[in-house]
Structures are given as C-alpha cells and as structure tokens.
Point group: C2
Chain length 205, copies 2
DNA sequence: GTCTATATTTGGATAGAC
DNA sequence: GTCTATCCAAATATAGAC
C-alpha cells in the first residue's frame, strides 16, 4: 500500500491541480498564477477547484512543501567516511548539488523559492535554515574532519563551508536563470567541477 | 543649472511618485505595488498619477533604471594600480561591494532586482551583464595582473574571478534578506572581510 | 494638476442544479 | 465532483468638471 506524499486516495484531479499549480506558481509566482489560469490549465472550472482545496493559499502551501524536501542528502556516516578522504567528499557533495540544479522538479521549486523569497517571511526563514544552515552544518563537519586528518589547512570550518556553499548557490542561480530563458548552459555546466578543483587546490595541505 | 536624473523641471509630485514607487516596488514587487497604494501613499488620487506617467509600467521602468546605475566603480587605472599590489585591490573592491550592500537606495534596488528577476526577461539579461559579466571583467583583469606580478598562483583569471564574486553575491543576498526582516546582521557583517582574508590566503604565492 | 465619477477587466470565491 | 451563474473586491485606466 504505497502512500503518496499528500493524498492517500486516488485523486487524479487533485494531483493534476497540484502538478499544474507547481508549474504555474514556479513560472509566474503566487500572484501571477491566478486561480483562473490554474483551473483553465487543469481543464476544469474555477469552482471545481474548491472541491479539492479550501482556497488558493492552501494550494500554494501544498506546492511549497516541495521546496525543502530534498530528495537525497548524505548520511552522517557517509559524510565522515568521505570527509576522511578529503576531495572525494567535495566531489560527491557537489555532484549531488549539481543533480538538484538540473533536476526538473527541483528546478521548479528553486525558482519558486527565488520568486517568493522576498514576499514570504516563512520562506525566508526556511531558506536560511534548509538551504543555508543545513548545508553549512554538513560541510563544516566535513571540513573539520579534513583538518583533523591534516588533509587541509587548519582554519574555521564554518568559514570554509560558507565560502564553499556560496559558489555552489551562485552557479545554481545562474543556471536556473539561463534555463528559464531556454539559454544554453554549456558554458557554465562544468563550473561545478571547476569549483571543486579550484577549492580543493586552495585548501589542501 | 543642475539637471536631475529624470525630470528637468521642478516636479515635486513626479519625484514623490518615483520615491514612493521605489519603496513599494522594492517591497511588494511589480504586482504587489498597486497604483492605488502608490497614489494613496503619495497623497493623491489614482487618476492624478496619470498626469505624470502614461501607466504603471512606465513608473516601474523609471524606477528600475536605478537598479543598474552603480554609484561608484573603480577606474581602469585604479584597478591596474591596486591589482599590482595584490591584496589591496581585493580589499578596496570588496569594501565598495559592502557599501553597496548596506546603502539604503542600493538595498532597495537589489531587492527589487531579486523580486522581479524571474518575472522580467530584460532584468535577467541586465543582471547577467551588469551584475555578473562586468564584475567578472574587472576582477579577472585584476587577477591577471596579480598573476603577471607573481603575487598569486597562475590559473584562469576568469575562474578565480567567478569564485570571488560568487561569495560576495551570496553575502549580499543574505544580508539583504536579514535586513528585510529587520534581523540583526551583526553575525554576518564581517563576512566580507573574512572573505578577503580567506581568499587571499588561498591564492597568494 | 487634481478631483469625482465611472468604465472595464481580472481575480478569488460561493450557491445551487445536475 | 463538475457545471453555470453570480457576487464582490481590487486593479488599471479614462472622461470631464474645477
């Protein structure tokens, strides 16, 4: 008995509403994605939407849940194991980040986050926690281990983590922008790998 | 005969409209800042607005001009001179960036840019050009000079520039987010200086 | 240049028949 | 659960008096 994220029952319309809403919210933002457009795209009347959701806000909140539900992350043991080897950790972490960047669903969620970031206090708080603090935590733990193993120069692990994640974020933002305009990301797609190389060369003993 | 940026004549109302619009657009975005709210805040009727601007779009475009009009930047000669000394260049460049981050007017413009980034193709193009490409150009020129003077390790100046600017951008975004919620930026305000130190230690010969 | 009045469109939401 | 019909509020914008 597999349980879907949200609805326990077979609810095709509700699912379609969420699917359509995700696309529209992440393209047009909360205000831009009107109930009219959503209903029209789903293929039903606006009034029918209200059989599945209380109001527009509820649809949005359901969609927005997806923003911070990262499909994968490194296990604590895996972090320790990889960090002890140094560079492999950075490679693994960065490739996961790259995957998220190019994954269609996560791309939509990232765009939605960026669009609503300054319009939604709750999203800002979650951004700081889930996108920033969590990454800083994992990375600084890894860098700390690398320092203990004398693989990299000793300094503040949190600072090193900050420096590392900031570039990943910037690459992700740029790529998301380019893809939104259907521009080629060829010139920037290897930036993640270049970042790993540059950074590792910078910090290694 | 000093000429104001936009209006040659003394036009107090028009100036007030622009001032109010700047605040509202940068808080609520294009859609959120209604003509009603603008007029109300200015202290006139909506219809009176149309004596000064064709429509809402025109007001926005006028306000948006301010996004990419950086108040200061380094002269070409100054870049060369400072870059030849290495670290002083990074310090100067970064302090200018920090000033922009904390400057009220530029803070509003940066927020407006972030809010509308995914809603406005023209803004995206300008962001890539004015915020990214221009900075990469200045920085890579400086790093190139440092390499020629054997102050830093030889590598791709563009890559080094990319790594450098990405962190500055991330710090700026975080600070702008915190200030938007009136949160203290004490813990992060020295991040710019830390970035200079960390980066210089990473690249210096 | 500003006001009142009004037109028009869009958007969120409900009532009630099927 | 979906439809038609309808309501109400908000938003952009114009006409014309003062």
């Amino acid at each position: 008995m597999p349980i879907t994220t949200t609805s326990t029952k077979n609810n095709k319309t509700k699912d379609k509403i969420l699917k359509v809403s995700t696309v529209l919210f992440s393209k047009l933002g909360y205000k831009g994605a009107s109930v009219r457009k959503i209903a029209s795209e789903v293929g039903i009347r606006e009034s029918a939407l209200y059989n599945h959701f209380e109001n527009k806000e509820e649809i949005f909140l359901e969609v927005a849940k997806g923003i911070f539900s990262s499909p994968f992350s490194l296990e604590h043991e895996e972090v320790a194991e990889l960090a002890a080897r140094g560079k492999p950790f950075l490679q693994k972490f960065t490739m996961q980040y790259k995957m998220l960047t190019f994954d269609k669903g996560n791309e939509d969620m990232f765009r939605l986050l960026m669009i609503e970031l300054f319009q939604n206090k709750e999203l800002r708080a979650q951004f700081m926690q889930e996108f920033h603090a969590k990454n800083i935590k994992v990375l600084s733990e890894a860098f700390f281990i690398m320092m203990q193993n004398s693989l990299i120069h000793s300094s503040d692990p949190m600072l090193v983590a900050y420096e590392y994640i900031s570039t990943l974020f910037y690459i992700r933002l740029q790529i998301t922008l380019m893809r939104f305009d259907s521009n080629s990301t060829d010139s920037i797609s290897t930036q993640f790998e270049k970042h790993v190389e540059f950074f590792w060369e910078s910090i290694k003993v």
